[in-house]
Amino acid sequence: MIINSRFFNRSELIGFIALAAILFVILPLSLDAFRLNLVAKYLTYAFVAIGLVLCWGYGGILSLGQGVFFGLGGYCMAMFLKLEASSVENTKIQSTPGIPDFMDWNQITSLPLFWQPFHSLTFTIAAIILVPGLFALIIGTAMFKRRVGGTYFAIITQAVAAILTILIVGQQGYTGGINGMTDLRTLKGWDIRPDHAKVILYFVEVVLLFGCIGIAQLIRLTKLGRILVAMREQEDRVRFSGYSVANFKIFAFCMAAVFAAIGGAMFALNVGFMSPSFVGIVPSIEMVIYTAVGGRMSIFGAVWGSLLVNFAKTSLSESFPQLWLFGLGALFIAVVLAFPNGLSGIWSDYVQPRIDRLLASRKSKPGSAWADNSVADGAPAE
């Protein structure tokens, strides 16, 4: 295989087991279907955050437009589900039966050409990966080959997010406009709305999430992962070591886009609708905040960041709707200033060393393991 060292080091292995235990066992056992579905919604952002770890944390490419790819993936999925929900039988009260309801309201009388292939699930799944991937390839090639980077790139991704939102809202007859695509019902005849379906979808999502974690970890461990780090620090040195920096940036950006798109597709399935409010500037920035809070260098941190910030968002925005956005902004500033490596940085700088010391002192003096002084003057780790 292409892996040089072990797939996970010890602390990563602990992180992996802990996350797997919580997502596969503890949460499904302790939460009701409604809450579990909320977790599923939060986890769709974790896909985006993992992509941002590769692209931003490792490659140093800050994209403030990941909502675009989340949205493209989500809309591809939603288009398939919407078509299935708009069978002639379901829509016989419309003036044109067999087309999605919002088209009918907008006096469109036949299904537009670009909607036709979304009758096929195979095509839809391919489109979820390829449409955002190709779009990222085009943006990436146009920007990185011309050496547009840093803040300029971030601003352009913001602009793309704004443009796509305006496009979706403006083309109401083709996209469902500001309301988005609602009333998604079945996947190949299987009803996605009842509780037991939500639970199955949750597990499908978690499996996909671990698939993405695995791919990201695999990339991180190859030489490409090290080149991304090298590029972030000394772009010229990488160039003058014989690498095409632009191609590596394009690759990282496309991977991040594909991960985001998978998240978006799972969002459409789990939440049951898709709308432009998950595409634009604000959600895109929020996705960066999840990554920053979790720790932009940590794949597991990204998952934790998405879960915790969204959990806080749900609970706080219920009680203090006006204050929530200020709180989110303050959180971002605090993390960037005080903990640039986020939660995972706090863990590896403060918590992990204590655990290591504790384990080391236990090993060296069995019996008196829990005495306080044995931690304080603990033997150095072997």
Binding site: I2, N4, I219, T222, K223, L224, R226, I227, V229, A230, R232, E233, Q234, D236, R237, V238, R239, F240, S241, G242, Y243, S244, V245, N247, F248, F251
Partner: protein, 251 residues
């Protein structure tokens, strides 16, 4: 000058090279030739355009006009990474190493294999890579620091690491920009020894201010002044050139 008839044995032929930044000609109609296995030192006062010449050869700066031929290939049309792949290596003035990577990883990235996106995904750290990295690490006095992150190294060690990164590329033309600047006396002596060893079997283009060092290694010296060649030849000849004494050595 030799414009027009260019014998085949030149490794590098720079002809009528000009670059202007907003009308200011940092390098003005410059021509010079470097032979195989030649050690050429470029000296000149500050702002003479020395670093710009290296930037032009390695593609960091695009020439306004003129040509740079390396083994008959026109470099001015190639991208930086393509120029590296034809066999030109460049060391920068300030040490540019990857501080978040270990010494081993720094050297490994410079190993000339798996330079495409797909190639780097499937790159394997096999025994050939390990052996070469260890070989080079020994040469640059960092053999016992392979697992050290580069940000832990001293300034001099970073310079050595970057030299090592070039060495592992095995370029036919090595360009060094002030390789001993900012080093302690003992580091300087060690670096001189290192450079003498690595400049065998390849052509080298060096910018350096340390005259003793220049005298030690140079086959030929080119003196630049205001983007043009003031004098060229052996150190002895250049030293006694009244024009050179006036603008440079006399100060």
């Amino acid at each position: 000058m030799l414009i027009g008839h260019q014998p085949k044995e030149f490794l590098l032929a720079v002809e009528a090279l000009t670059v202007s930044f907003d009308g200011f000609k940092a390098v003005n109609n410059l021509s010079f030739y470097v032979e195989e296995n030649e050690i050429r030192v470029i000296i000149g006062p500050n702002g003479a355009g020395k670093t710009t010449v290296l930037d032009l050869i390695c593609g960091k700066t695009k020439a306004t006009s003129g040509s740079i031929q390396f083994r008959g290939k026109e470099l001015t049309k190639l991208k930086e990474n393509e120029i590296v792949q034809t066999g030109v290596g460049r060391k920068f003035q300030t040490p540019s190493v990857f501080e978040d990577l270990t010494v081993f990883e720094n050297l490994e990235i410079s190993y000339p294999r798996g330079r495409s996106v797909f190639g780097s995904l499937t790159f394997q750290r096999d025994s050939a890579v390990k052996q070469r990295v260890e070989e080079v690490a020994e040469m640059i006095f960092l053999k016992d620091r392979l697992d050290t992150y580069a940000d832990q190294l001293s300034h001099g060690q970073k310079q050595w690491l970057e030299i090592g990164m070039l060495l592992i590329q095995d370029p036919d033309l090595l360009m060094l920009d002030e390789p001993v600047a900012g080093m302690s006396v003992s580091e300087r002596a060690k670096t001189a020894e290192l450079l003498k060893r690595i400049i065998k079997d390849r052509s080298v283009l060096v910018i350096e201010h340390d005259m003793k060092f220049v005298e030690d290694i140079a086959h030929k010296v080119t003196v630049l002044h205001q983007g043009q060649i003031l004098s060229e030849g052996t150190m002895e000849k250049v030293k006694n050139d009244p024009k050179v004494i006036e603008v440079y050595l006399g100060h």
